[in-house]
Each structure stands twice: as C-alpha cells, then as structure tokens.
Amino acid sequence: MNSATWYGLLGATLAGIGLYGLIVHPHVLRKILSFNLLGSGVFLIAGVVARRGADAGLPGDPVLQGLVITGIIVAFSATALAVALLLRLAETANTASLSPGALEGRAGDAPLPADGSDPGVARRREGS
C-alpha cells in the first residue's frame, strides 16, 4: 500500500471518530470538537484524492487543494458561530446540553411565562 492509501485510511478513521462523537456525546463543546475532527478527516480524504488524481509532474491536483482551503475556512467560521452560541447558552442557562430537560429549574433567567406567551413581545413592549 502506498502512502496515499495510508492517509486515506487515516482520514476515514478520523471521520469515523468525529461522526461517533457528533452523534453520541451530549455536551455541545464535544460535538463541536467532533465536527472539527470529522472535517479534518474529510480534508485528508480530499488530499488523498488530489494525490491520486494528480497529473504527472504536479504533487497534487490544485483544484482539490482549493476545495480544502475553502472547506477549512467554512469549518472555521462554523466553529466560531457554534462556540459563540454555546457561550451565550452557557451564560443564559448554565448548561451546555441540547436537551430541553436541561433547561428546567435553572437559576438566573426570568422564568418562561407559564401561559405560553412570547417574552420577546414583552421585552419589546418594555424597551420601546
């Protein structure tokens, strides 16, 4: 097996670990990290594809290198957005879980009106 195949298997393993973490772990930060692992695995696979499809004389197909760079930027922005939302969630509800059960009985936030009314409306009424 040549190095491209090894890298391919490595990429697949990383992607597998990332997928597993994304599906199984309840903590949002771990999900974000797993997503990054998954992304890294996919980029490695892209690199392998670039290597196998390269023309003679070029180390790797430049189009795929461009794809990987764009992918890294997208993953980076996605991670930044997700972390920002997570920080806000932790600030607001002192939890880092996606399950609705984690929001019950929390302190520090105005309780959700029991009659189902929209707090956003109340806030706007107060603010204007």
Binding site: V42, L64, S77, A78, L85, D115, G116
Partner: protein, 501 residues
C-alpha cells in the same frame, strides 16, 4: 459544447451584487441604516430578476455567465434556467412582504444608535437572500456547497434572535445538524471530483455513470441535503427552531431557507445524476415524503400552540415537495416529466408564499392576544379579522383548493402520477390534502367562535395586517397567475432533460 456567456448574462452578476453589496454596506454603516439599505435593495433586486425573466423569455434559452470569461471545466459559471428564475422571483416577492412586515417588529428604537436584534435581522435577511441567489444561479457543486453553508450561517442567528435559552438550543441544534449534513455533502463532492474530474453540473450530466463512486457520492450528498431540508425522519431541528423564532424570521426560515437545499436536490437528482438515478431510489425519497406528510400533519393536529402547529405543518408540506421525484423520473414522455417538474416547482412556490403568510399571521395573533394557545383562540376572528382571513386564505393554498397555486400543483402532480400509473402517490396526495384541511379547520373553527364579550387585545398595526393579507391573497390566487407561464419552467432544460433519458 463549451459554455459561453450569453447576451444578458451580466444580469446574473448584477442580480447577485445587489444583496451582497447591501450586506456589506449594512455591516459598514450599521445601526438603523441596515434596515434602510435592505428596504432599498429589494426593489433593485426585483428589477434585476425581472430583467432576467424578460431576457429569458425573449431568447428562449438559459442565461449563462462565465466568471472571468473562463469556460468550465477550468472556470465556473452562473446559469439561470426556468427553475432558477421562478425561484428568484418568488424569493424577491416573499422577502418584500417579510421586510415590510418586519419594519415594525425590528425597528431600531428611537434614541439608540444600534440595537442587537434589529441589526442582526436585517443583515441576516440580506445574507439569506444573497446565499439563496447563489444557490439558484451557481452551476457547479462546490459553489453550491459554499452557498449552502452561507444559507445556514445566515439562517441560524435568525432562530435565536430573542436570546432565550430554548431558542439558543434550537439554533445550536440546527447549526450542528446542518453541519453534519454539509460534511456529507462535501465528501460527496470530493468523490465526484476524484471520479470525474469536474464539478460543473452540465458537464457531469454527460460524464456520470452508475459506478460505485458516483452512487456513494450522490447518496451522501442527498442525505446531507435532506438533513438541511428537514425531511422526515431528519426533521428534529425544525419545529423548535421555526416555532421559537420571531414571526418574521419564522416566515423567512420556513418559506425560503428550506427551499434552498430542496432546489439543490432537484439539481442533483434531475440535472446531474439523471441517468444514474433508479426508480427504487426515487420511490424511497418520495416514501420519506409521504411519511413526512402523514406524521407531520398528525402531530400538527395535536399541538397546543399555534406556532408549533404551523412548524409541523411545514414538516408535512416539505414531504409534498419530494413527491415529484418519482413522477419526473418515472414519466413516460418528456411532456409528462415537464408537467411533474412544473407541479413540484409550483408546490414549492405556493408553499413559500402561503407558509410565510401563515407564520406572520400567527405572529400577529401572538402579539395581539399575548399567547398562541389554540384552545384559547376564541374570539380572535372578531378582534383580528384581516389576520384570521389571511390565515384562512393561506390555509386554502396549503390544502390545495382552487384558485390557489397549490391546486394547480396538485393537478399536475396527480396527472403525472395517473399517467405513469403510480396510484399510491395519488392516495398520498389526496390524504395530505384532507389532513391539512383538518388542522386548518381546527384553528379556524376556534378563531371564528364568538365570545360573549370582545377579547382583550393589544392593537397591532393595521399595515402589518394588510401586508400579511396581501401575501395570503397572492398565495390564494397564484393558480390564476401560474396558468400562463408554465413553459417558463422548461426554458434551458431541454438538453438536460433529453440527456437524462
């Protein structure tokens, strides 16, 4: 055949530039200027869309623009065919209504230079618009990947605009699930490039064969797109996200954002992979759609809150959109395939307008009554006649009664199903209409009940009610408007359609 920039192709770039320039200017100037820039950009975008329509009708062919004058496979193209143009026009119309409606909810307060929620809303509105335009116009799968991500990133903040913990969770859930989907999509594109050396849709239509690499690629890409479109059973993020967002944002999310990834599935299945797709795969996709219709409608019937009911109605209506695939791929003649395609597109357009109107009406009910419990809607019709009328009209469009676009779409889909002898989809479509009627009747019968004393409400601005009613009337009369330009859908699709057989 090499792609060249067609006359009028520059309109595609101009159409894209409007929301992008608006977005940049809005971030630059900030504050209350964001709203003004968005409102100024919409008419310009409408002009560009109309110019593209007229150009296409006069030339009768798709518009193409090669970026940098490089033709594929070296360069990338923007390509506008009948489908793109129809979706572009729909986007501008719905966005105009949403923008006019949101002027009151998302106005920057007097005395403040900038407020978080309004600023984010207007910037994200422009962002969603720009991203959707790229989705509709891009001609290769990687640009479409970037566009998909842009749509997601612009849509996620809209979910958690009010900053509550529930909506933050919903936004995170949406973001993470959408990211999982886009990773699968990315793997698919990498595989396609590895196997066929290009990502341009028109070139791929000739090169793709039913080989393992293509099959795995399309399966992964489809699964990823279905996760972003929230097709049953991948719909976990949609109800809390769409129900938790403010009314204007829900209208945007349900009406337009969903249609982006759906449009991509059309491009994937019908344009690029038409020769690879099998009847079994199409039936599987539509079976998921049927599941969405049944489960979504039945769960909608049991919701206690109006906004959750409308969100589950979206889950059900998304299922309708996917019924067109076995009908197009299994059609006996090109004419029948075209009819099925037109039906699916019309269903998407009808849902976009009707669901946006319905969410905005639900938002007005919320704002006026202070709650949206379905059981306590008695007296709403007397207090908010225009709003309830708008809800009723959009309900009629969703059920599929004439003269709404939904009826014409139902007719086209039923004709193709009957012509290709796929009787079971006839049953599904009929059942879907009845289930939709059930929950619309549930809400309307409560709202139309009179109470002894008038219900106490916070007055909502008359203009908001009028805007919502206008959009609802558009959706209820769409069938009449759509009778003539059905041929528009087919412009630019002949080579693709014949290549797929």
């Amino acid at each position: 055949m090499q792609d060249v920039t067609t006359p009028g192709g520059h309109w595609l770039v101009l159409a894209l530039m409007v929301p992008v320039a608006g977005l940049l200017l809005a971030v630059l100037f900030g504050g209350r200027h964001a709203e003004r820039i968005a409102l100024a950009a919409l008419p310009l975008g409408a002009i560009a869309a109309l110019a593209i329509v007229m150009q296409m009708l006069s030339s009768g062919a798709a518009l193409v623009y090669c970026l940098g004058n490089w033709a594929p496979p070296l360069g990338i193209v923007l390509r506008a065919d009948g489908l793109s143009v129809a979706m572009m026009v729909t986007t501008v119309v719905v966005l105009t209504a949403i923008a006019l409606f949101a002027r009151i909810d998302f106005a920057t307060p007097r005395g403040a230079r900038e407020a978080r929620a309004p600023f984010v809303f207007w910037v994200m509105l422009l962002g969603v618009w720009a991203a959707l335009l790229v989705v509709f116009l891009a001609g290769d799968f990687f640009t479409l990947y970037v566009a998909l991500e842009l749509v997601a990133f612009a849509a996620v903040p809209l979910v958690s605009l009010d900053g509550r913990a529930e909506t933050l969770q919903a936004a995170l859930r949406y973001l993470l699930y959408a990211l999982a989907g886009s990773v699968l999509y990315l793997v698919g594109t990498v595989l396609i490039y590895g196997g066929y050396g290009t990502l341009d849709i028109a070139l791929l239509a000739d090169r793709l064969r039913a080989e393992p690499v293509a099959i795995v690629a399309v399966a992964l890409m489809t699964a990823g797109l279905l996760a972003k479109t929230a097709l049953f059973p991948l719909h976990l993020w949609l109800p809390p996200a769409h129900a938790g967002a403010p009314a204007a944002a829900s209208a945007l999310l349900s009406g337009l954002v969903i249609k982006g990834s759906f449009f991509l599935v059309i491009r994937l299945w019908l344009d690029a992979f038409g020769s690879v797709m099998t009847p079994a795969a199409a039936q599987l996709l539509a079976a998921l759609g049927a599941g969405a219709i049944v489960v979504g409608s039945v769960v909608a019937l049991q919701q206690a809150r109006l906004k959750l009911m409308v969100a589950y109605s979206t889950v059900a209506q998304i299922g309708y959109l996917f019924l067109m695939f076995p009908l197009v791929l299994g059609a006996a003649s090109a004419g029948a395939a075209a009819a099925a395609l037109a039906g699916g597109l019309l269903q998407a357009i009808s849902h976009a307008t009707a669901k946006a109107a319905m969410f905005m009406a639900a938002g007005l009910v919320y704002a006026a009554l202070g709650h949206d419990r379905v059981a306590d809607l008695r007296g709403a019709a007397r207090a908010l006649p225009l709003t309830i009328a708008a809800f009723a009209l959009s309900g009629i469009a969703l059920i599929g009664l004439p003269p709404a676009g939904g009826f014409l779409a139902k007719w086209l889909l039923l004709s193709s199903a009957l012509e290709s002898a796929q009787w079971w989809w006839v049953v599904v479509i009929a059942l879907g209409g009845l289930l939709t009627a059930a929950y619309v009747f549930l809400v309307l019968s409560k709202a139309l009940t009179t109470t002894a004393e008038p219900v106490v409400i916070t007055p909502v601005p008359r203009s908001s009610e009028v805007i919502v009613l206008a959009l609802a009337i558009v959706s209820a009369l769409l069938g009449v408007a759509a009778l003539a330009p059905l041929d528009l859908v087919l412009i630019g699709r002949d080579e693709v359609m014949s290549g797929a057989r």
